[in-house]
């Protein structure tokens, strides 16, 4: 080893100070080992965008007291599922004020920064404004990272460098990412008085509401909208499969503009002032697109590992827990002084025993089926739901039986039996793979 190597050598390097990287780093620091956390932004969270919510239970696993200390926006007491037609909508709402394992809306520039500060207090060496250009290899073994300025060496490198993970790509751990494996998300944070938010969403101070939005300008596409209430702003956005955007040649911000103008959505954000526009990719490939998760001296966690549960809109929790498990794996390797691929295989085993891999596996067929049937599941049936309620609530002196029969005959006529059969098969196949095996 050269002098330079010795000077720049630490036990673990973590690339990326998001939820996965911070969780990994703090787990290692708490056990008294040296860990350097490298972040390319000017502070942790400054390059990060999400819908909005972090989940209480997994966050407590990393920062047990965060509910009393972290910069949180609102505690979500209501989930609304809004199915938008062209003009109309059907909204299902679940409201529960005293639920245990809740979620909080947060602003990443504040929350991730807070997490990184906590990690620093617990011994993590945080290096900001530094881009890791590439991984350093000695044969097959990852021995460190090369930044813009210098080389740093470590026994283990944990990649938590986000959805674009150029580093996972460099070492060939990543399969080729296709447009259908990601969703492009655009978001606007809109300033509104807390009082107005409380009134519009029927909330008390610190209580929040989440809208998950289907249809509308995204009818027929694999795309979903979202709305989260912050203390004195609203985050509204959408994520659409990049393949669908390309195919239909859509500008994502124009689709968002249409969503904002929908009669059900527009009153919620009326008279608000745009604070910030942003964009980010969401990994959508799921289980089938997971990269190789461990190798000689390297582990991959969070979005970099494509760990998003798109059915339940979960990401930060998978990031935190995969990060934590990566940290624990690194610790066990340090104790055994063995950083080989064989020793680090424990990461995959532990992930498989956790909800992270179990959930990804449960939904392994979701995206394939959703892509195949997006026109029907995300278009036709969405329209029919609104059509049903339109029929059911209209009072026009036409006998009800006649209306029901017409609705059913239209439903079958507009869609060939063959297509209906394909939809049903797809639905059953999906349910089977989710519930049975």
């Amino acid at each position: 080893m050269t002098d330079n190597t010795k000077n720049n050598k630490t036990e673990v390097i973590v690339v990326g100070a998001g939820p996965a990287g911070i969780s990994a780093a703090v787990t290692i620091a708490r056990a008294g080992h040296e860990v350097v956390l490298i972040e390319r932004g000017s502070f942790a969270g400054s390059k990060n965008v999400f819908g909005g919510a972090i989940y209480a239970q997994p966050t407590r696993e990393i920062f047990p007291n965060f509910e009393n200390e972290a910069p949180l926006e609102r505690l979500n007491i209501e989930h609304k599922y809004a199915i938008l037609g062209e003009e109309d909508s059907t909204v299902i709402s679940y409201r529960h004020k005293t639920q245990d394992n809740v979620s909080y809306s947060v602003i990443r520039g504040k929350f991730d920064r807070w997490m990184a500060e906590q990690a620093k207090k617990e011994g993590v060496i945080l290096v900001e404004e530094t881009v890791v250009k590439e991984l350093l290899l000695d044969g097959e073994k990852i021995i460190g990272v090369k930044t813009e300025l210098e080389e740093y060496f470590a026994d283990i490198v944990i990649l938590a460098d986000g959805v674009n993970s150029l580093l996972a790509k460099q070492i060939g751990f990543r399969k080729e990412i296709k447009p259908k494996d990601v969703a492009l998300s655009v978001k606007e944070v809109i300033k509104l008085d807390a009082q107005i938010i409380n009134e519009r969403f029927n909330l008390s101070d610190d209580e929040g509401c989440i809208y998950e939005i289907f249809g509308g300008p995204m009818l027929g596409m694999l795309g979903l909208g979202f709305l989260y209430t912050n203390k004195d702003s609203i985050s509204i956005g959408l994520g659409i499969g990049l393949d669908a955007l390309c195919e239909k040649e859509l500008k994502p911000y124009e689709v968002l503009d249409k969503l904002k103008q929908h009669p059900t959505i527009a009153p919620l954000i009326k008279d608000g002032e745009l604070l910030e526009y942003s964009a980010h990719l969401i990994p959508e490939g799921g289980f089938k697109k997971l990269p190789k998760l461990f190798g000689n001296g390297v582990l991959i966690a969070g979005d970099a590992a494509m760990m998003v549960n798109n059915m339940h809109w979960e990401g930060t929790n998978l990031a935190m827990i995969s990060g934590k498990i990566a940290g624990e794996t690194a610790l066990s390797a340090i104790r055994q002084k063995d950083f080989s691929e064989k020793a680090l295989a424990k990461y995959q085993e532990d992930l498989e025993n956790s909800f992270v891999m179990k959930d990804l596996k449960t939904y392994r067929n979701l995206m394939d089926e959703a892509h195949k049937r997006s026109e029907s599941f995300m278009g036709y049936y969405m329209k029919e739901i609104n059509g049903f309620f339109n029929m059911f609530t209209t009072v026009d002196s036409i006998p009800k039986r006649q209306k029901f029969r017409k609705f059913i005959s239209d439903f079958v006529k507009q869609r060939s039996i063959f297509e209906l059969f394909k939809d049903a098969t797809s639905g059953i196949k999906l349910l089977w793979s989710i519930l049975i095996k």
Binding site: G109, E148, L166, C246, A279
Partner: protein, 91 residues
């Protein structure tokens, strides 16, 4: 509200050189020029006169969509230098 108005709300610290390098020889032949459509910050504009792609890299939101969507996979896409590029305050 135009996209320019939206981008005006974003805090940037532009890098000196572009972190996005499309291969213009391939762009010339590209039929879709899909980057000019799907980019959420309208970074790419096709200049028909000069037959090249204008890259407004200082507007880049660093999402990575262009890299994956590019028909010819010909955008050399890197992160801007440390401390440069976009800073999200409300992400």
């Amino acid at each position: 509200m135009t996209l320019d108005d939206k981008l005006f709300t974003v805090k940037y610290k532009p890098d000196e050189i572009s972190h996005l390098k499309p291969d213009n020889a391939k762009c010339k032949k590209c039929k879709t020029k899909i980057c000019t459509t799907i980019c959420p910050a309208k970074v790419y504009e096709w200049n028909e006169k000069e037959k090249n792609l204008t890259v407004n890299f200082e507007n880049c939101l660093e999402c990575g969509a262009c890299r994956i969507a590019c028909t010819h996979k010909c955008i050399d896409w890197e992160y801007p230098s440390g401390n440069k590029g976009v800073t999200f305050k409300q992400g």
